[in-house]
């Protein structure tokens, strides 16, 4: 609201602060519900119906259905919560992280093996 938020300007990075947390509250709590096997099964059986049980926005629901994690982040999702969707789908954390970068799974894996994404030098 008025405290400095310099972390808003880091490219390709969404900081999960109170503002994002408020926006994504039900999206994240929905993700948390996937920690129970029962809920995972109900979600898999009918994603739309399960999502409709939560006070999420239509955008949030669609982003989940599309497995568009970047969109989920923008809409207030936090990666540790969103990871429960990946777990439900049987994905690893590396597959999830890679899916947000625009690279293929193979490309991302190779980038990591080669030492990861290089930081952009500070003063240029």
């Amino acid at each position: 609201m008025s405290l400095d938020k310099p972390y808003k300007n880091i490219p390709g990075t969404t900081i999960f602060d109170a503002e994002q947390s408020r926006k994504g509250y039900y999206l994240n709590q929905f993700c948390m519900s996937l920690m129970s096997a029962d809920n995972r099964n109900r979600f898999k059986a009918d994603e739309r119906a399960y999502l409709n049980e939560w006070a999420m926005t239509e955008d949030q629901k669609q982003a989940v259905i599309d497995r568009d994690l970047n969109r989920c982040l923008a809409l207030g999702g936090n990666i540790y919560f969103l990871a429960k969707i990946g777990a439900t789908d049987g994905l690893s954390f590396q597959q999830m992280a890679g899916s947000m970068t625009g690279m293929t799974e193979q490309e991302y894996r190779e980038m990591m093996l080669a030492g990861g994404r290089k930081p952009v030098p500070k003063n240029n």
């Binding site: 990075t13 109170a18 992280a97 991302y108 030492g115 990861g116 500070k122």
Partner: protein
């Protein structure tokens, strides 16, 4: 009198747990990671602590957004293994030390640290992966564990300086406990990694190694590093490293520590793995 004699620092990548639990530890990819802990397992055998004070962060397993404690100290008899969505890791239940933990809690609160006391705390990979790395695959953990969860999920997280100061307070607390106990303190999480967005996969090898150098030699100075630098240089999840400063603050700061072991490797899944063992200087 109880004493903190050593500190251990290590990343706590979930994929390491998954590799161990699915029998992939022998693969070359993972061997490179585990090789960094061979010395540590031996060192542990010779230096087995009575209690490990284990600083980690929960990753949306014990804590949702309903309640977000900045610091949560586990004072229970035991801590169950969390099911993070892939099923609970097949590792032994973690046994606490309620007496020492409550003593530390009392001392910290009287020292103006506004901690939350947790008596029901399922522990996730943040705590169990370091234990597997340090103790190997065992039927029972060889010592008691006092878990301290630090919020590094929702901003703002506590500053490095706050964590460092709390480390000092933990040392004071341990030293005022009147049983003879050998206590190790572990700081976990890090090193550079980013799990989200277009910049996922960021690794900053130079920054990480500078961090290790400074953690050993100039921790007080390092503790003043602002959050923003962690995020910019070490990725959005690199902020976990503030937890290492808490463990470092609990060491004897009058003397240079003895570096028993140092290890750095890229990658484990999305993350740079860093690991240090420091003993109190004499």
């Amino acid at each position: 009198m109880a004493k903190i004699t050593a500190s251990v620092y290590t990343s706590h990548v979930p994929a390491i747990g998954a590799a161990l639990d699915s029998g992939k530890a022998g693969e070359p990819y993972w061997q490179k990671v585990f090789s960094g802990y061979d010395y540590s397992k031996k060192w542990n055998k010779d230096n087995i602590p009575d209690v490990v004070f284990l600083i980690y962060n929960d990753h949306a397993n014990a804590f949702s957004l309903s309640l977000i404690p900045t610091f949560a100290l586990g004072t229970a008899e035991s801590f169950p293994i969390a099911d993070e969505g892939w099923g609970a890791r097949p590792v032994p239940v973690v046994k606490g030390h309620p007496e020492l933990a409550s003593h530390i809690a009392q001392s910290l609160i009287q020292d103006d640290f506004d901690i939350t006391i947790a008596n029901e705390l399922p522990v996730d990979h943040g705590l169990t992966v370091p234990m597997s790395l340090m103790f190997g695959e065992v039927d029972e953990w060889p010592c008691y564990v006092i878990p301290l969860h630090v919020n590094v999920v929702q901003y703002p997280v506590p500053s490095g300086a706050r964590c460092f100061a709390m480390g000092k307070a933990i040392r004071r607390a341990v030293e005022s406990f009147d049983q003879d106990l050998n206590v190790h303190i572990w700081g976990t999480g890090g090193m550079s990694h980013q799990l989200q967005g277009a910049r996922a996969g960021l690794i900053n090898e130079k920054w990480d190694n500078d961090f290790l150098d400074e953690l050993i030699a100039e921790p007080e100075k390092l503790s003043k590093k602002p959050h923003l630098e962690y995020v910019e240089e070490a990725g959005s999840e690199g902020i976990e490293l503030v937890m290492w400063l808490m463990a470092r603050g609990a060491m004897n700061l009058e003397k240079e520590p003895i570096v028993k072991h140092r290890f750095y490797h890229v990658p484990a899944s999305n993350t740079a793995v860093g690991h240090l063992i420091l003993e109190d200087g004499i």
